[in-house]
Amino acid sequence: MLKFIIKRLAQVVVVLFLILTVLFVLFRLAPGDPVERMVDPEMSVEDAALLIKEFGLDKPILTQYTIYLKNFAMGRFGKSFHYGDPVANIIREKLPNTVLLFTTAVLLSAMVGISWGKIAAWSKGKPKDLALTIASLVTHTLFLPWLALIMMWIFSYQLNWFPLGGMMSTSEESILGLDITWWDQALDIGYHMVLPLTTLFLIHFGSYLLVMRSSMLDTLKEDYIITARAKGLTERDIRNHHAAPNAMLPVVTSVGLSLAFSINGGALTETVFSWPGIGRELVFAVSHNDYPLAQACFLLIATVVLFANVVVDVLYAYLDPRIRY
């Protein structure tokens, strides 16, 4: 098992390395002066000179490449054009916000989707199943930004139940900036999180439900289910102890595959709801030509995706004894 994990992690490192290299090449292939990619043309000459030195932009390509890799490993991404601060700081501020929203959304959709999928499979053909399946189909195919806007229109604009975006009532942009009245702040954040969370949930629970449902239906046709029934077990026991653990396996795989989809959705949600996270920063950075920030955000997201896939693989190996033993 340990060997498996190490092998996968090694693969991640290789892929990251490749991505970094591709980015490096792209940045230099793109039209325009690569120096302008790292150094804000509006900077003072001294500041510019410092940065050029830090990133070795006046040295030959190969040296630049090694410096580039070293900088990445040490978390030095340069200075954001837009904010003027070191990119690393900005990321440190905004990352927790994304983690909070995104993880909650994924966990919620997964748990609800999977358990409803189980129920749908069990009442196959009956109204409950049809309702759940249709609901999943419909919500899953909705265009996320559109759904987000409609949610805002109904619940913020018309009913005034929830704020129109943002993460907190103050213009505080990071949950790291929490102070004294911790509980109040938490509630405030929670209040702001309801709409984006619901939007993400609506879009994603459907795919978990449908995968679990079809996986359960396949599992229920297996011979060991007949054995379980022959043993005189109750339907409930059969469903939960025999069928579900087997049905879960394809679901875990599909979680890994749909991660990219979820992340796209996360970035869009953050943008529409003005949730100050990494996804939104990436979009902003791209619109403002803030290259250092854009690159860093992207790299961060890519790293997270790769690691998440490793987690999924390890989880699968853990759940399926045929792989572990």
């Binding site: 102890h241 087997n246 033993y325």
Partner: protein, 317 residues
């Protein structure tokens, strides 16, 4: 009172094209400690009978006529809850090892403990585990393998595990559905011998379902031959195997090779069994029967006793 009394059993499946009569008018009796082999080709209804005896017919199947009396209780009148109590306590099933009969993600020992606890709720987990160890010893499996997963077992071990699991609650009747079909000959022989020993030791009633009449002749005291959903011949193993009277049985015996006995040419049976949807007139075998006459197509053949305890469904035997 007989252990199992099947009276005029008919079972049908609802399909898109109509009612498929998989079993028709089957009657036989089994005493405690006796073994009966049910033989026939695929689709003859033997597995369906096996499932019906466990109350495990799929949702589109049902007993359309007749009675199945297990220890005097009619399975046909029982509801699901009552059947659940009967299953694995009074009657248990041994499946083919090649099937995915064991859940791949649960340890084998745990699956057996589950069978015990479901029917003896007062038994503690530890006690159940001790019982499982005893079962393993009974079927000749190493006790250290209790905590393994099914994919770690060989084919023979899986079959033994399935047998052990069936014996967990000391049932009086065991239904073995092709238990040796996917195993190689050597293991097959071992399992058959062990099954015979277990039957004697535990005084088990066994219904042994197979398509191989020579295996059944070796293991069972009586044989029932099924064709197209009907029981066409029944008697002791000696009677049915050495003096088959029904043309189908004769052809069946002739089509299986045996190591002992004189060398003869194998003769396959030409043709196919009839489609079982809709009413069938007359004898079901007549299209493939060397002895058929025009009358066979119209009249249902008589159930005749041709010898002591030896019955045949035929007019010309």
């Amino acid at each position: 009172m007989a252990l199992l009394d099947v009276q005029n059993l008919s079972i049908g499946y609802q399909t898109a094209e109509g009612l498929l009569q998989a079993v028709e008018g089957v009657s036989f009796c089994l005493q405690a400690g006796q073994s009966l082999g049910l033989v026939g080709e695929s689709g003859c209804g033997k597995t369906t009978i096996g499932m019906a005896l466990m109350g495990l017919l799929p949702s589109n199947g049902s007993i359309t006529e007749g009675h199945v009396l297990l220890n005097g209780q009619d399975l046909r009148t029982m509801d699901e809850d009552a059947l659940r109590k009967v299953r694995w306590k009074d009657v248990a099933m041994i499946f083919q090892a090649a099937m995915n009969a064991l859940n791949p993600v649960i340890r084998v020992g745990d699956q057996m403990i589950e069978a015990i606890v479901a029917h003896q709720p007062q038994v503690s987990k530890d006690e159940a585990r001790r019982q499982v160890e005893g079962l393993y010893q009974l079927v000749g499996m190493p006790v250290e393998r209790i905590d393994d997963f099914p994919h770690q077992y060989s084919g023979g071990m899986k079959q033994r595990a399935i047998i052990a699991m069936a014996l967990a609650n000391k049932p009086k009747l065991i239904i073995a559905d092709e238990p040796t079909t996917a195993l190689d000959v050597i293991v097959q022989d071992q399992i058959l011998q062990e099954t015979k020993n277990l039957q004697r030791e535990l005084n088990l009633g066994i219904i042994f379902i197979s398509h191989d009449i020579s295996i059944v002749a070796e293991v069972c005291q009586s044989i029932g031959v099924m064709y197209a959903g009907q029981l066409v011949e029944i008697g002791t193993s000696e009677q049915v195997f050495y003096e088959p009277r029904h043309p189908y049985t004769q052809a069946l015996v002739a089509s299986f090779p045996t190591l002992a006995g004189e060398r003869k040419e194998l003769k396959p049976i030409p043709g196919e069994p009839p489609h079982l949807i809709g009413k069938i007139m007359g004898c079901r075998f007549c299209d493939r029967c060397p002895r058929s006459e025009s009358q066979c197509k119209l009249d249902r053949p008589l159930w005749q006793e041709v010898d002591a305890g030896h019955h045949v469904l035929c007019d010309h035997c």
